[in-house]
């Protein structure tokens, strides 16, 4: 049975005020379209979790959606700072609570969540100030060696939004290129929204089942949103808009400019389709040139 709905409907149905929300994707496949709809629907008191808050969460922080950020690296990748984030945590008192790990720690939290274990063990954090800064980083003793290892608690979001290159109507989703922690985040979550560049027939999925990273049986809604990851990218579809990431340094540094950006590109438009219609040069500038994978046979 089809789970395809509009982005408006998916967010309205599955993202509530106060939720623990994850929009994952490491540089690749970051679903800005979902974040913009959450901002438009004025969700509040969210705990937003990502390894790299990135411009996507800087926008949600600026829009007042979030009260807490769980993260491991809060910069603008290759371009500078996330100034909305910095203003929030550098003000006294801070207007945003933070819970901080390293990348490995965040990955381990998603692994534990996906495996439905309350903790995950890792050989990490010795000699650092992170455990003192975050009491959720604890330890266990190995029953074989007697050595102690760090632990992080499971992260089980209320809702996780994953952007994928393609899926069928039931949400069997395929991703290639960088995988980040999309699979772990989806399995860890109570609800899952899959957003895709392309809706395909199940036959396309079944022709190459090893490419499926998220099975439909854990998916609640499927949204078809071409260019939904811009200004991040979708391997095989469009390139990263580095110009925008660099421009964000200037936009986010000035609260007035940031407000103006949100007014024009988020509140001021209805949906991603209008977002694209208003900047037709994107397609010409960023559409990917083909680089084909070749085929394999699944026959027997």
């Amino acid at each position: 049975m089809s789970k395809v709905v509009s982005m408006r409907e998916a967010i309205a149905r599955h993202v509530n005020d106060g939720d623990v929300l994850v929009i994952e994707g490491f540089t690749h496949l970051i679903c800005f379209a979902a974040a913009h709809e959450i901002i438009r629907q004025r969700r509040r008191d969210l705990t937003i979790c990502r390894l790299t808050p990135d411009v996507v969460y800087d926008q949600m922080i600026a829009a007042g959606c979030a009260t807490t950020l769980v993260f491991s690296w809060a910069g603008n990748p290759g371009a500078g700072s996330l100034h909305a984030f910095r203003r929030a945590v550098e003000s006294t008192p801070p207007t945003l609570a933070i819970e901080e790990y390293s990348h490995f720690g965040m990955v381990a939290r998603f692994c534990a969540g996906a495996a439905r274990l309350p903790f995950w063990s890792l050989n990490n954090y010795q000699g650092t100030d992170l455990p003192a800064a975050n009491p959720q980083i604890r330890s266990v003793t190995c029953p074989y060696t007697g050595r102690t290892f760090a632990t992080v608690p499971a992260l089980n979001p209320d809702v996780t939004i994953v952007h994928a290159q393609r899926a069928d109507a039931e949400g069997n989703a395929q991703v290639w290129g960088l995988l980040g922690v999309q699979k772990e985040a989806a399995f860890a979550s109570q609800r899952v929204i899959v957003v895709v560049e392309e809706l395909v027939d199940s036959a396309v999925i079944r022709a190459d089942p090893n490419r499926t990273i998220i099975p439909g049986l854990i998916v609640d809604a499927v949204v078809v949103e071409p260019w939904g990851a811009h200004p991040s990218y979708a391997q095989g579809f469009y390139d990263r808009d580095n110009a925008f990431y660099l421009a964000w340094e200037g936009i986010s540094r000035d609260p007035a400019k940031l407000e103006a950006y949100l007014a024009q590109w988020v509140y001021g438009i209805a949906d991603r389709e209008e977002y694209l219609r208003r900047q037709p040069e994107l397609v010409a500038r960023l559409t990917a040139r083909p680089a084909m994978s070749g085929e394999v046979s699944y026959g027997y």
Binding site: F26, T27, H28, L51, F71, S72, W73, A74, G75, P77, G78, A79, F85, R86, V89, E90, T92, P93, P94, E100, S102, H103, F104, V107, A108, F110, C111, L122, N123, N124, Y125, Q126, G127, T128, D129, L130, A132, A133, R147, W176, G177, L178, L179, G180, V181, K183, E184, Y233, Q235, D239, R240, D241, N242, A243, F244, Y245, L246, R285, L286, A291
Partner: protein, 271 residues
């Protein structure tokens, strides 16, 4: 770290034949041996690794924390997750595999680290300036730098000399050096050897094999011990015999400018 920026600040080298950033990239590249498995960061480390791969270390295996193994970027990646790191790489894996099966497994031979603050023991702070709870400046945080500092068999630090950066003590230990919170690496059960060398814009510092303290090990052409001391916030020890750091060859500079930096065929920022 955009390369323009370093090009822009004018050659510190002899006759301005090269920019400080170019010199740092060339020096760092020489620290890499052919066939080594390197955990690459964006900016100078990326320049250094791709320069090494294009010159004396064609067998260098570049691994990015984003999950690209054996990457061969055809343009200068602006971010650590750039699509050019994926196309034509040998393997793409999820980040759970990167951190558990590659890094924690001990497969990474060299890791690159930078930081806002570095202390005399090679401890690095990329988290916060001032108090953690009410920071003066909130930095991005550790990202993968904590686990790289712990698990890479050795690490190279790249940073410009500046007494505000090279300090007696760092405000926050994001990446442990040779004497970190609670003691030395062995006592703490840290597998990697830690920061063996620090590549700066004027000299190379190296960790004392016994004490782990960073000492002046090599001067760049035309630089003096006093210049270096002026950039370090503690009483820097100077080794009796300093290594010689050869000038970048014209070949190095040509490859760096044409094949590595010039390789960028990126769009958006890159056009």
């Amino acid at each position: 770290m955009g390369t323009e920026k370093q090009r822009g600040d004018g050659g510190g080298g002899t006759g301005g034949r090269y920019a400080p950033a170019e010199l740092m990239a060339c020096v760092a590249a020489r620290e890499l041996c052919d066939g080594e498995v390197v955990f690459v960061g964006i900016g100078l480390p990326n320049l250094a690794c791709n320069l090494a791969r294009a010159t004396h270390a064609p067998g260098l295996v570049l691994i990015y924390e984003s999950g690209a193994i054996g990457a061969q970027p055809e343009r200068l990646p602006v971010s650590i997750g750039d699509p050019s790191l994926v196309t034509g790489s040998l393997m793409i894996c999820g980040m759970a595999d990167v951190f558990q099966f590659f890094l924690q497994n001990g497969r990474i031979e060299v890791g690159f680290l930078g930081g806002a603050q570095v202390d005399r023991w090679g401890n690095i702070n990329t988290t916060v300036i001032g108090d953690y709870a009410s920071p003066t400046v909130r930095l991005p945080g550790g990202g993968g730098a904590t686990e790289i500092a712990i698990h890479a068999r050795r690490t190279l630090i790249i940073a410009r000399l500046d007494p505000r950066a090279f300090r007696e003590r760092v405000d926050f230990i994001t990446s442990p050096g040779h004497r970190a919170r609670g003691g030395g690496r062995e006592a703490l059960g840290i597998p990697g050897a830690g920061p063996t060398r620090v590549v700066t814009d004027k000299a190379i510092l190296a960790a004392n094999v016994e004490t782990g303290e960073l000492e002046l090990a090599a001067l760049y052409p035309g630089r003096t011990v006093d210049e270096v001391r002026a950039g370090v916030g503690w009483a820097l020890r100077v080794r009796d015999t300093l290594e010689k750091v050869p000038e970048p060859t014209d070949d190095d500079l040509r490859v760096l400018r044409e094949q590595v930096v010039g390789a960028r065929r990126g769009r958006g920022a890159d056009e």
